[in-house]
């Protein structure tokens, strides 16, 4: 039995939820906020981070490590390409999505959604302006040069596509959308990923949780 610890709405938890869904694996989800001081959760996640995953005796942390494990242990419905070269490229996109893309796109979400809505603080608009106007454009130029005009990066939807898009889903909750006139390919790519049959129900559940689908 697989147990996923984490809360919906995290770009990293979402990545694992979608990989589990693509692989058709059933799992139990334990609601867990990150950075808890709970010593019981520290036994599961030494840094207090989410997601954590338990599969039998094995407990592992970090969404990239978890996705690699799921691919190794449950190879049916692969989420990585099978040849070394494309697998390396997919890992690079996975890594980019989980680090620089997340730092920027989830940064917008943190400032404009989490701080006002959850933490009752004001957004740091100087920081958000720097992200949107200075830091994201060169990254979006690069992404625009990498994504295909149709379909996904390596055939069927996989972890590379999901990782690159996941933090932009969070940014969209803070009303940031990638400018389709400036980055048409990447903007259309986000649309394709988020309207995929496996992604849609996860996003609808999140929208309900965040109260985004009300009237």
């Amino acid at each position: 039995m697989i147990t996923l610890y984490g809360t919906a709405g995290s770009p990293y938890v979402r990545k694992v939820q979608l990989v589990l869904a693509l692989k058709g694996l059933s799992f139990e989800q334990v609601q867990q906020m990150p950075f808890t001081k709970d010593p019981e959760f520290k036994k599961i996640s030494p840094l207090g981070k989410i997601p954590a995953l338990q599969d039998g005796e094995l407990i592992i942390n970090d969404s990239a490590v978890i996705c690699e494990y799921l691919e190794d242990a449950y190879p049916e419905h692969p989420v990585f390409p099978s040849d070394h070269v494309n697998k390396a490229k997919a890992r690079w996109f996975e890594n980019l999505g989980g680090h620089r893309v997340s730092e920027l796109a989830s940064g917008i979400f943190f400032q404009r959604f989490m701080r006002p809505m959850v933490m009752k603080q004001e957004s740091d608009e100087v920081l958000v302006g720097k992200i949107i106007n200075e830091q994201l454009p060169p990254l979006l130029d690069y992404l625009e040069s990498q994504v295909p005009s149709e379909g996904f990066l390596f055939g069927a939807l996989g972890v590379a596509d999901i990782s690159l898009v996941s933090s932009f889903i969070n940014a969209s909750y803070a009303s940031y959308t990638v400018d389709a006139s400036r980055w048409p390919l990447f903007s259309a790519f986000i649309q394709r990923v988020t309207s995929h049959a496996v992604v849609k129900p996860v996003m609808e559940a999140e929208a309900a949780m965040f109260g985004l689908n009300k009237g």
Copy 2:
């Protein structure tokens, strides 16, 4: 032909150098500092980071992605365990070494070595004190609970061992050593890794570069 872009002394470049050495792969190293504005290097490393690796037509970035590729493409002399469960654990340690351990231990190196020696700035000793006295101890407590009393994490020296130790090598250049009376197992583990026959020549070359073996 394999080409490694990066400069000696980087904890991430060192990780790849050691994996290449463990696998007995010959390679050409191109000296490259990180975060250059050089547009030619941006074609190789979109974020300007090091290491980057070229193998034939493939160019990839990020030390974790590079080590996974080398393991897939050159499986002789493995640097990961072969079974899924231990491979997942090894990836977790690799990830921990490359992120939280590096953030803290390489943070000491950055403040106390790079800033005064290279950047002609003063070290932020408030930050260093916080790292050494508050942030590292719980991480070292965890590492102390994980490392073996003899040998390496998964048999022969591998990427998990190297990744956990690499940033502590940098911290040692800034005169920080893990307190052997408080964390005897992890301290002895660092000694075992750094005195391994494949690691020693790389460290000697670094010491010569940094002028640490004078007098």
